[in-house]
């Protein structure tokens, strides 16, 4: 990584003390960051296993991206709004989402992964790549028009930076001074296509063309990610200026459980990045700095197992959805054409039940 990349925590766990003192994080916050990262890792592993066991249709693990997700999400205020893509399990956990509901998306029980997007400050999954930054820009514009003290953050990947919508979003946000943070997790892979085939330039520098700051940060350094996001959030809040953050990280797992990453990248590549694991790096720092000891780590791990078990039991125990739900939320009021269709489905379902 070039010199411009912001980093506080070195891969061996050492920190730039001056930078660290500049952070508004107490020891308690640091332990909380660690805890969230461990929870996310556990849920990722559990959901990968659940897919192998036939309990989830598909799952896109975020292993290796915990620092980028949790460091950025931790920099948000309580009322700030998130527009995610579909790989933001760490963001979701640190924003307190119901992870059983969240995984119903992957089980195919319902779409979206989020019950009440506005109420929970977390937009629904956006699977069409790069489409959600526009929603974030619109939301940010809307809160600004209301004079609300709300910042919006939107997550997307390096692949999404090839999409026009992402650039339209940044352009509009720049023109209107929308209070938004564009958070790009550059995990180097868009399924099988590597970063160099997405862009000939550098992602964070694209911001310059839209008239606002772009920052590159070591995405496996939770402290640096927190710092640059915190700054971006404050800039959005105080100055109504957007920021593009490129968090350089790596997708350790496959694109999804349906993918076989060995077909397009080497074991050595992956192992090199595993050496830069964000959780282990942070753990070493916490231990060395005397902020956390083994008991904290074990407790976080146990909590992670509990959350994994909760997710497992939750999705397996969820009652089947009411067939009528198929038609419940298409419109505020069901039009006659759909009433007919609903009645047919209900009648057929009833006939099935009656044998």
């Amino acid at each position: 990584m070039a010199d411009e990349t912001v980093r506080i925590l070195a891969p061996d766990g050492r920190v730039d003390e001056e930078d660290r003192r500049g952070l508004d994080l107490k020891d308690e916050d640091l332990r909380q960051l660690f805890r969230y990262m461990v929870l996310a890792r556990n849920v990722d592993l559990e959901c990968t296993a659940l897919q192998r066991q036939g309990e989830l249709a598909v799952y896109p693990p975020a292993i290796g991206q915990e620092a980028a997700q949790i460091g950025s999400a931790y920099a948000l205020g309580e009322r700030d709004m998130v527009y995610p893509s579909y790989r933001e399990v760490g963001v979701a956990i640190s924003r307190g989402l119901d992870m059983v509901e969240y995984m119903k998306f992957h089980r195919g029980t319902w779409h979206g992964g989020v019950n009440d997007p506005v109420g929970s400050g977390f937009g629904m999954f956006s699977v069409p790549v790069g489409s959600q930054p526009l929603h974030g820009t619109g939301h940010a514009l809307g809160t600004k028009l209301d004079g609300k003290d709300v910042v919006t953050i939107t997550y997307f990947g390096d692949g999404a930076t090839s999409q026009g919508d992402v650039h339209e979003a940044m352009n509009v946000a720049g023109v209107f001074g929308a209070p938004i943070v564009f958070f790009c997790q550059n995990n180097h892979w868009a399924i099988s296509v590597p970063l160099e085939k997405q862009t000939a330039g550098q992602i964070y520098r694209k911001a310059e063309g839209y008239g606002f700051p772009g920052v590159r940060v070591d995405g496996n350094d939770v402290l640096a990610v927190y710092r640059v996001t915190r700054e971006a959030v404050e800039r959005a809040r105080a100055e109504h200026q957007p920021t593009l953050i490129e968090a350089v990280t790596y997708r350790i797992g496959p694109h999804s459980t349906a993918d076989d990453a060995t077909r397009y990248r080497t074991k050595e590549d992956v192992e090199a990045w595993q050496q830069l694991d964000p959780i282990e790096r942070f753990r070493m720092f916490l231990e060395t700095a005397g902020i956390a000891d083994q008991s904290v780590f074990l407790e976080a791990e146990a909590e992670g197992k509990d959350l994994a078990a909760t997710v497992r039991a939750g999705i397996q125990g969820a009652p089947p959805r009411d067939v009528e739900d198929l038609f419940r939320w298409i419109f505020a009021e069901l039009p006659p054409v759909l009433v007919r269709q609903r009645d047919e489905v209900l009648r057929l379902a009833e006939e099935d039940r009656d044998g």
Partner: protein, 324 residues
Amino acid sequence: MADVTMAQALNRALRDSLAGDDRVLILGEDIGKLGGVFRITDGLQAEFGEQRVFDTPLAEAAIAGVSLGLTQAGWKPVCEMQFDAFSYPALDQVISHIAKYRYRSKGTTGVPMVMRIPFGGGIGAAEHHSESPETYYAHTSGLKVVVPSSALDAYNLLVRSVQDPDPVIFFEPKSRYWAKESGDLAAEGAPIGQARVLKEGQHATLIAWGAMVSRCLDAAEAAGEDGVDVEVLDLRSLVPLDIETLAASVQKTGRAVVVHEAPMTAGFGAEVVARIMEDCFDHLEAPALRVTGYDMPYPPATLEEHYLPNVDRILLALDAVLTH
């Protein structure tokens, strides 16, 4: 009662919506100082300020996607696609997000926005300015698709669309913008989802929306001179489709002709005919026919008269169903 053009009626509908509900916003390309290329938003920015009526960068996907985001911040955006054929870059936002958000969020997060699209030909325009894309939207569940045919109803329908809890794609028939109607502007007409019988008749039903409604009325008048009593139905909204009024009319007359500007294959006329088959089969004296644009890219302005359904083509179709 004064004569009012559809353009004036739409302008008044937007003005009254802005005045009556301070959550309403207007956004789009050239809708501010210029007042829109058709002047539909004329004077609105001056009256309501740049916070509520604002020009956007020239980016249709952004206009759509940002409008969705605005609804989640509690606003009711009315966005404009400058011309029919410029609405296509926004289709992903419309189809993947705007239409689906209520459904995906289990009803918690509706999308109360209006996307206005001036549409249709017959105005001698250059390429990409005369298309009729209503079927793309009608085929996408979760959207309401509304098409006024006259000035007074345009006012009524637009005011209702702005207040609708679901996303409304509002098609404005460009060739009727300057057509006048006499009466008072009030949102007291039929609600969205109800068709109107504009002329009662016994022998056959003409079904249309937008600009083709007046064409059908002309054809009905011509048919009347030949002693044929034609009913004319203005659908007003393609989604929700008023299947009851449609069925009642066709069951009465036993003969139906659907007229639209869009190409025939998989056009909305096919949907109307299918509904007629389902609901009126035993009443049909003849197969329901379509008079539509041909299956081709919209032709150059100097040839569009051959493409668009005209009174003669409608009369030919009427003759075919009457003499079957």
